[in-house]
């Protein structure tokens, strides 16, 4: 319940405050969202397996976002930002899919 409440509060805060994202930060937003999603699905899977740990979740969330942003930043500096972004999206997307598959196995048994 608490995470859902927090999520709702965060969405409302985001809508109400709607902070202006500086232009240089905007290329990192989609990557950050996907990295966060990966952490969330990992956490959901861990929760279903009964071994959820808040500290691990927070650390994986933060490190995912930071590392993904770092890779994209590096790519931008080297002139291959688009390709590296694609790479990050592919890897994280695969992880999300397999985590969702595991969640599905837990929930639906299929």
């Amino acid at each position: 319940m608490i995470p859902v409440l927090g999520l709702v509060l965060g969405v409302v805060l985001g809508l109400v405050v709607s902070p202006e994202v500086p232009l240089w930060l905007q290329p990192y937003l989609p990557i950050a969202v996907i990295a966060a999603l990966d952490a969330v699905f990992g956490a959901a899977r861990a929760a279903l397996e009964g071994i959820f740990n808040d500290r691990v979740f927070v650390i994986s969330f933060l490190s995912n976002v930071v590392v993904a942003a770092l890779i994209v930043f590096l790519g931008n500096q080297l002139g291959v930002g688009a390709q590296l972004s694609t790479g990050v999206v592919v890897v994280l997307g695969l992880r999300i899919f397999s985590n969702v598959a595991a969640i599905r196995r837990h929930l639906l048994g299929a």
């Binding site: 927090g6 999520l7 808040d54 927070v58 595991a102």
Partner: protein, 294 residues
């Protein structure tokens, strides 16, 4: 080297070990962190899961929600800078148009006053005939609004793409400048005394052109439907636009291209004064020289 040997010692004897990367990609374990953390907790005598009622989790959830929302709001909106610039340009255009409209109403007012004063003076100095002469000259030149019986021809773009029509396939035919020109010329030839297109009075210096996708009358672009008003003998005008050359042309437009047209005969058609009457290069001959030449 030490590390290398360490790795060798621990190497998985699985013959498919070289496929580990694929296995990792296709079916990754959950972050091993969860397993080891759970193990540590169990060893410490705590339940494996830390539960969900922690402030840390709450704060992370808030951050997560905000991140997703802000990303969605930011990335969904079209480039804010461009949008803002566009908005500014639009408001400037609108302001300029307002100013232009106000100016043209003012011009019309002033022109009316000038004409009135001219007529009054002429009447005072040279008698009522001179005043009437000015009034009729103004009417013929398009400097004053006129009202009288006449016809209203409305041309409208086709709503559906016709088959076999020229132009791009699948796009409805549109009214062309030539169509408007033909209608206007037909009306003049049928004795129209004043003609306007979408409220723009045609004078001796008016042009009907086609620029890009818009019909332009006197440097003003028009939007469909195109309404051609003409004052004149209603019977002759109606005959021209129904059975005359213009009528035949309109009928062809209707049957071949789907461009619809409507002709209304009215008792009372009002046509406003022209907006642009000044000449920049032509000068009136002086009275004396004119007399001399005669």
């Amino acid at each position: 080297m030490r590390f290398l040997r360490l790795g060798q010692a621990r190497r998985d004897p699985d013959p498919a070990a070289s496929m580990a990367l694929l296995g990792e990609v296709l079916d990754p374990p959950i972050g091993p962190g969860y397993h080891s953390a759970a193990q540590a907790r169990v060893e410490a005598g705590l339940p494996a899961s830390s539960g969900y009622r922690t402030w840390l989790l709450f704060a992370t959830a808030v951050v997560l929600g905000m991140l997703v929302t802000v990303a969605a709001v930011t990335l969904r909106a079209p480039d804010p800078v461009a949008a803002e610039t566009r908005q500014q340009l639009i408001s400037r255009i609108e302001a300029a148009q307002d100013v232009g409209d106000a100016t043209s109403t003012r011009i019309e007012e002033l022109r009316g006053q000038i004409q009135q004063i001219e007529q009054d003076r002429a009447r005072a100095e040279q008698g009522p005939a001179a005043g009437r002469a000015i009034a009729s000259a103004a009417m013929q030149a398009g400097a004053s609004a006129v009202t009288g019986p006449g016809v209203v021809v409305v041309l409208e773009d086709a709503t559906e793409a016709g088959e076999g029509a020229p132009g791009l396939d699948g796009t409805p035919e549109r009214v062309n400048a030539r169509d408007v020109q033909l209608v206007v010329n037909g009306l003049w030839s049928a004795g129209a005394e004043a003609v306007s297109v979408n409220g723009h009075r045609l004078t001796s210096t008016s042009a009907i052109r086609f620029a890009g996708e818009a019909i332009i009358v006197d440097f003003r672009s028009l939007a469909p439907p195109y309404e051609v008003r003409a004052i004149g003998d209603p019977d002759r005008l109606a005959a021209e636009t129904s059975s005359g050359v213009t009528g035949a042309y309109l009928g062809e437009l209707r049957s071949q291209l789907g461009i619809t047209s409507r002709v209304d005969v009215r008792e009372d058609v009002t046509i406003s004064a022209a907006e642009r009457l000044t000449t920049r290069y032509g000068h009136v001959l002086d009275d004396t020289t004119e007399e001399d030449r005669r």
